[in-house]
Amino acid sequence: MNEPILSLKGVSQIYTKRSAKGWRRVPVRAVDGVDLDIREGETLAIVGESGSGKSTLAKLLLMLNRPTQGQIAYRGLELDKLNHEWRSQYRRQVQAVFQDPSSSLNPRMTVEETLRHVANRHSLVTKLNQRDFLAAQLAAVGLNPPEQYFSRYPHQLSGGQQQRIAIARAIMLRPRVIIADEPLSSLDVSVQAQILQLMSDLRATTNVGFVIISHDLGAMQSIADRSAVMYRGRVVEIGDAIYQSPAHPYTRLLLDARLLPNPRGTRVRSPPPKQAAPFASVETTQGCRFLHRCPHAIEICAAIDPQLRPLGLGATQVACHRAEELSAATTPV
């Protein structure tokens, strides 16, 4: 088994927000006690609820935020305590693709300046063949012919083209880990396929690892070694087969809500009647945070917050009291 390159222990990020009236500050637990190991060279998908803390987790890993609680370690060294040299190594070895490419690209820099800036800072190539090198990076993400894009500013690019510049910028440094927040969301399936191929080529040649945040469950199923499902600041399930055998009721809900490319589909046009969750209106601060939406909730779920724990003998971990019962009830025949 590979050593973890990044590991999180009890990591929380608590934002404070001013309440509507008055000056009281209320805490927002965006990430709430996450334990997670990211292994060298693996592709880990992070999927889940919108607003569940995925981007916040990415910012923590990129040292853009400091965790309110808990520790993050890089090859066993706590990020907090890295000396100057390690810190700069870290910044080179862990690269980012942000969720909103238009705001992560400098609006006053052309594509060429953006890439050249990164290449120079890390003295990647000699000045002589730099232009060829940069052109090759653009071609790799499907921006052809590359010369057409060199002199453009971000606002002169389409959403998907901006996204690909951000990807090119991250991979050109040949880092150890790439943390990519929704890197495929503005790309058509044919460019997506090309980027997914590029990623697996890079893995084969450089053993780079990926942490990919995405809502595209199909794409993640095709590329991830493991997937973590987040709900309200927590990892509620993690494993290598969550798409085939989901263990948490929320994971099931996510999978069931996918749309099929079938024009006779009826999920949007005539949705099935919603079945009310048994505990939908119960107030509790101590129980499971999925309680109010869970069709399978029972007494214990309202009383005790389930912790992430191994399920059976497999590699899956799940935070649900009833995981065994429920997965036994729906195993494939």
Partner: protein
């Protein structure tokens, strides 16, 4: 108002009719033909999808039609764009504002951060869209229900937040709520659900579909997700390098794609969803 025959394009019954639209940009010494001779129409109460290559001109098309092209260096903008028989490209700024205000069209942008006001709480921004000069207090009920329709479970919390305090998908839903607040006759939605998880996406699309049916709201949706097209749209345009290469009823696109690029899109999406072959149930 009667419209002289000479100004009408094609079928007067169209809500939007676009003929031979060209939008060319100048980048240093090169001309980018972002939209290059596109014919396009939307019938009243119709739901139309636009799919296509990244960079094929989808966002530019929709922006030109709604005349939302702030300070861009446009080399050429030509063709006819009519909204209910009125020429949008030649309309004065005042008329355009009036059209937007009086239940004309709303737009959901591809990148919400650029269009939300960072200094106002989102509740206020939605209330302003509800009634530009109205009483913000009395609208708070409506604001809440709009946020619920956009898939929020705690609308109160969200209404009190500033845009930077929200996640990417939450901001996207706020844009949706703002667009729907105007009660438009026509909604342009540029990748409105890319940052949403599948359950919220489903909920938002169900809302759009319901408003589409109940209020006869026409919808033009740009998306890379053929599942969205399949389950929501009546008709689809497929774009490649500034041109429409195919237009078809949804069913026909999926079952009998004519253009090779459309066929590839359909095939790749089917392949992607076939990962579910070993369905867990």
């Amino acid at each position: 108002m009667t419209i002289p025959q000479s100004q009408q394009i094609g079928n007067v019954k169209h809500l939007v009719a676009v003929k031979n639209l060209k939008v060319h940009f100048q980048v240093t010494d090169r001309i980018v033909r972002a939209v290059d001779g596109v014919d396009f129409h939307v019938n009243p109460a119709e739901c139309v999808g636009i799919v296509g290559e990244s960079g094929s001109g989808k966002s530019t098309l929709v922006r030109a039609v709604s005349r939302l092209m702030p300070n861009l260096r446009v080399k050429e903008l030509s063709g006819d764009v009519q909204f209910e028989g009125r020429d949008v490209l030649k309309m004065s700024e005042g008329d355009l504002r009036e059209l937007r205000r009086s239940r004309g069209f709303s737009m959901i942008f591809q990148d919400p951060l650029g269009y939300l006001n960072p200094t106002h709480r989102v509740g206020r921004q939605i209330a302003e869209a509800l009634s530009p000069h109205g009483n913000v207090q009395s609208d708070s009920q409506r604001v809440q229900s709009l946020l619920e329709e956009a898939g929020f479970q705690e609308p109160n919390n969200v209404a009190r937040s500033f845009p930077h305090e929200l996640s990417g998908g939450m901001r996207q839903r706020v844009m949706i709520a703002i667009a729907l607040a105007r009660d438009p006759k026509l909604l342009f939605a540029d990748e409105p659900t890319t940052a949403l998880d599948s359950t919220v996406q489903l909920q938002v699309l169900q809302t759009l579909y319901r408003l589409h049916k109940e209020r006869n709201m026409a919808v033009v949706i740009i998306t890379h997700d053929l599942g969205v097209v399949a389950e929501l749209c009546d008709r689809v345009y497929v774009m490649q390098t500034g041109k429409v290469v195919e237009t078809a009823d949804s069913v026909d696109l999926f079952e009998r794609p004519k253009h090779t690029y459309s066929a590839r899109l359909v095939e790749l999406s089917a392949h992607r969803s076939s990962f579910r072959g070993a369905q867990y149930e």
